[in-house]
Every structure is written in C-alpha cells, then in structure tokens.
C-alpha cells in the first residue's frame, strides 16, 4: 500500500469511528453512555480550561520525565549488560525479579519512599519504562555484527568511538523497538500512579469523575488518555522514521539478496 493510502486510512478510520459514536449516542438517555456531543463539550471545557494546569499538564509532565529517565537508564544499563556478559549474568536474576512485579504493586513502595507527588510518580513511570528498554538494549548490543566491530577496531577507533559510532547505531533498531513498548507501559504507569495515589492527574480525574457520577467527564478523561497515547506514538514514529530510515532500506536489500 502506498504511504499516502496508509495516511488516508489513518485519518478515515477515526473520523468514521467518532461519526458513528456521535450519531449512535445522540439520542442516548443512559447516564452511563452520554451523547458524544456532551462528552466533547466536557472534554473541551475540562482539558483546555478547568483542569489543564491542575491535572493534564502534571500528568503529561510526569509521563515525559519518567519516560526520559527510564529510557536513559535503560539504555545505559542495557548497554553495560550487552557489553559485559558476566555482569549481565550476575544482575539478570535481580532484574528479572523486579521486572515481574506489576507497576500497580509498586505503588505502596513508591508512597513509602517518596510520599505522593512528582517524585513518586516519576519513579513508578521510569521503572515501568526502564525494563522493556533494558531488555531490548541488552539484546541489541549483544547482537551487533562482530564484523562491524572488527572493522572499527582495525581502523583504530577508540572504545568510546566504537560505542558511540558503531554499537549504539547498530543496536538502535532494537532499542527503538523497546521504546515503542516502553511508551505504552509508561502511559499505563502514569494513569495507575495517579489513580491509586494522588489527588490530581488524569487517572485521579477519571476515578473521581466516576465516583461522583460525572460520567461525561469520565468519558472525556478516557478520550484524553487515548489521545495522549496516540500523540506519543505518532511522535515516536516520526523520530523512528528519521533515525531508522536506513534500517528499512537495509532490511529490504538483505531480504532481496537472500531471495535472489
């Protein structure tokens, strides 16, 4: 399919979805499924006015800082584990252990350590982001073609140059695949963190709206979370496209060579 065709479908599907929602919900009298018209009115009022600074901005801020910390830490530790098989063997039981614990179960620990607020939420989000990046970076660094490294060594590249100009770019496709998963994990952790343990933020807002029976508000909250996920993913795809343009072409060329 052409890229234009794909972009077209990317626009057409949501438009159809929301149109159908609008039409089908218009006459709804169920308090649980309010008309989309009312939900969108609430959406605009809430997210662009009343709750913009109190809930939306903090959640986005926590998400982005947690994402940044988790990605950097995951790439650094993952690179070490990929480069040092012994270190990897020693620490991997520990990382597997912590990785197995769901983020929600770590909320109480976060509360004890950091109380409520920015630090606690960022801690949880970065932890959720850290592990998928760690795993993919370790695999990516370990899987770098040894011929690349031999070439770099034969031309006298220092270790820092080899790391920065050979190992990281060669592992980049896998690191970025991990980022894609991490973004979803991070968003989930953002919502969970403020659902369970704070008095503000997107997750808190949804729970609060539901318990006080402001159901259009709850729906508006859900749409906002979906929208954030969509925007985060779109931004990611743009970055990936720029960084990994070579990878698509290279993979295509290697597959064609293998088929021939």
């Amino acid at each position: 399919m052409t890229r234009l065709g794909q972009a077209g479908i990317g626009i057409v599907v949501p438009v159809v979805f929301f149109s159908l929602w609008w039409v089908l919900s218009e006459g709804s009298t169920s308090p649980y499924f309010p008309p989309l018209r009312r939900t969108l009115a609430a959406f605009l009022e809430i997210w662009f006015f009343s709750r913009f600074f109190t809930d939306l901005l903090p959640s986005v801020g926590h998400f982005l800082s947690g994402l940044a910390i988790g990605v950097v830490a995951g790439v650094v530790v993952g690179t070490l584990m990929g480069l040092l098989p012994r270190f990897s063997r020693d620490v991997s039981p520990m990382t597997e252990f912590v990785r197995a614990i769901p983020t929600a179960a770590l909320v109480p620990l976060g509360l004890i350590l950091f109380g409520t607020g920015f630090v606690m939420e960022t801690f949880l989000i970065s932890l959720a982001v850290f592990f998928p990046i760690l795993v993919s970076t370790t695999a990516g660094v370990r899987g770098v073609d040894p011929v690349y490294l031999e070439v770099a060594r034969s031309y006298g590249l220092s270790f820092a140059d080899r790391l920065w100009h050979v190992i990281i770019p060669a592992a980049a496709p896998q690191i970025l695949a991990g980022c894609r998963v991490a973004i979803a994990f991070g968003l989930a952790a953002t919502v969970i963190a403020n659902m369970v343990a704070s008095g503000s933020g997107l997750g808190f807002f949804i729970v609060d709206a539901q318990t006080s029976f402001r159901l259009p508000d709850m729906w508006a909250g859900l749409i906002m979370i979906g929208l954030l996920g969509y925007l985060a993913n779109t931004a990611f795809v743009l970055v990936e496209h720029r960084l990994l343009g070579w990878h698509r072409g290279w993979r295509g060329a290697t597959q064609a060579a293998r088929a021939a």
């Binding site: 034969s154 031309y155 006298g156 050979v166 290279w250």
Partner: protein, 275 residues
C-alpha cells in the same frame, strides 16, 4: 637466523629495499594443554615498498589467523609483525584492512561517503582533508558521485569498491585484503582484480592480498607466498615476472601464467614440482 644479526646484511637490505611489512618467526596456537591447536607453526617473510604480494594456501590453513595477527586484531603466541617499521601491538595506524564480507564490513547506517571517512573522522583528520581524500578515493574506484547513496543500494561489486575506497582514503603504508573478491560473481571479480592492479600501479601502494584462488594470486602478484596445511609454514615463495600492465585475456593466456598457476596448484596440493 644469523643473517639477521649480521650488520652488513641488514645494511645491504636497507639500501636495496625497505620492507614495509615484516613478519618474524610468527606462530599462533589456540588454546593450551592437550586441546591446543597450532594454527601457525612459524612464518617469516617481508614485503617491500610498492610490492604486490599474494598469500595462498589450502583451505583451512591459517590465512585468516595470519592476517589478523598482522592487522593487530589478534596477538600471536610467538614472534612478531612490523608494519612500517613499528611493531604490531594493536591495529597499526599504517595499515588498512579490506574484509571479505563487503555487505557486513560497510556500516549500513552510514552513506557511502561517511563509510569512507569515518576512520578519518575518528583520527580527527580535518574536515576539508577528509572530503578531499574521500573524493580522490571514490574517483580511484570509479564511484565518484556516489557519496550520498547507502551501501545497500549498491551491487556487491560496488560495495567492495566502497570498502577499497575506505582503505585508500586512510592512506595506509600497507593495504591488506582478506579474500576480498571471494563472494563476488565472476564478472565483478575480474573487474575488481583489474581495478586493484590499476590502483596499485597508480599509487605505488604496497598490497598484501590473501586469497584461495590460485589464478587470482598469480594474476595479481609480484610474488606469491604459498602456505602449507596447518600448522602453517611457508611452502614456497614464487616470483611472478609476468609483463605489466596485465589483462584478463592476454595475461591469463600467457604460457608463463599457465606454468605458474600449475606450479602453485601443485604446491597447494602438496605434489612434487619441477622447481
């Protein structure tokens, strides 16, 4: 052995010819104890400035091991190698290596131009210099104007040209080539054999070319070093006095070419030879 200590002999060697590459009593054993494998028993040879030397041997002999020892990618168990008079203790600054696996030795995230210059960038060669050297090297291999392409957009033969250009741009004293054309089709292979001969003639570069192709070794070389089965030693060194410039048709039909290739073949197959 004693000849090397003799001052007159070494003085004579220096005035006559300068060795750019010297391998002395080099030996490599993998592992230790009863499971140890001796890949190279003992090798000594030298390559003079501007010489084109081919190293051939039966498959499974220590060609790659020898090459890695010279390139500083592997420490020999015994003996040493010298490149441009300096003992090899890591990858030498005066040596460029061209790998067999052209599709893996070029970095797929870098353009052709950047693949040629990244070793120079790592050496902190000034930008303007890098660009001049890249242009000259790409011109020498017939890829002028391909800077912006990615290597995987090119054919195998062209990719190996890029790898050769990278070696040339590095301006080494020795260009070391590890079966560079073994994975190419016959046509590209013949083209590249001629290309390397031409570049060598134009630049006076010293080339050490490892191959398992006997015809190729005789066609390219001033001298062919024939190795034995492992544990490897030198079976024989054969001078190739074929007229230059050589070409695929007349040189390969030359009676001397036919005689030499038969001789090398017999040496590799370990059969008695006339000489």
């Amino acid at each position: 052995m004693s000849g090397r200590q003799d001052p007159t002999a070494s003085a004579r060697a220096q005035t006559a010819k300068t060795p750019v590459l010297e391998v002395r009593d080099l030996g490599v054993t993998y592992g230790s104890g009863p499971g140890a494998v001796m890949a190279i028993r003992e090798l000594s040879f030298s390559v003079d400035l501007g010489e084109f030397v081919c190293i051939v041997g039966p498959s499974g002999c220590g060609k790659t091991t020898l090459l890695k020892s010279i390139a500083g990618l592997l420490s020999p168990t015994r003996g040493e190698a010298y490149v441009a008079g300096k003992r090899v203790e890591g990858p030498p600054k005066d040596l460029a290596l061209v790998f067999q696996e052209y599709n893996r030795s070029l970095l797929p995230w870098l353009s052709v131009g950047d693949n040629v210059t990244f070793p120079l960038a790592a050496r902190k060669v000034p930008k303007a210099d890098q660009l001049a050297r890249r242009k000259a090297a790409l011109a020498q291999v017939g890829l002028l104007g391909f800077d912006e392409k990615y290597p995987w957009q090119l054919s195998g033969g062209m990719q190996q040209r890029v790898a050769i250009a990278r070696g040339l741009a590095y301006e080494p004293a020795v260009l070391l080539m590890d079966e560079p054309f073994a994975s190419l089709d016959a046509q590209s292979r013949a083209d590249l054999e001629d290309l390397v001969l031409k570049v060598q003639r134009d630049t006076g570069l010293t080339v050490v070319f490892v191959t398992h192709d006997i015809d190729e070794s005789v066609y390219e070389a001033d001298r062919v070093i024939v190795l034995t089965q492992r544990p490897t030693t030198i079976r024989q060194v054969i001078g190739v006095d074929l007229p230059k410039p050589r070409d695929q048709i007349t040189t390969k039909a030359h009676p001397e070419f036919v005689r030499l290739r038969t001789e090398v073949l017999k040496l590799i197959k370990n059969e008695p030879t006339a000489s």
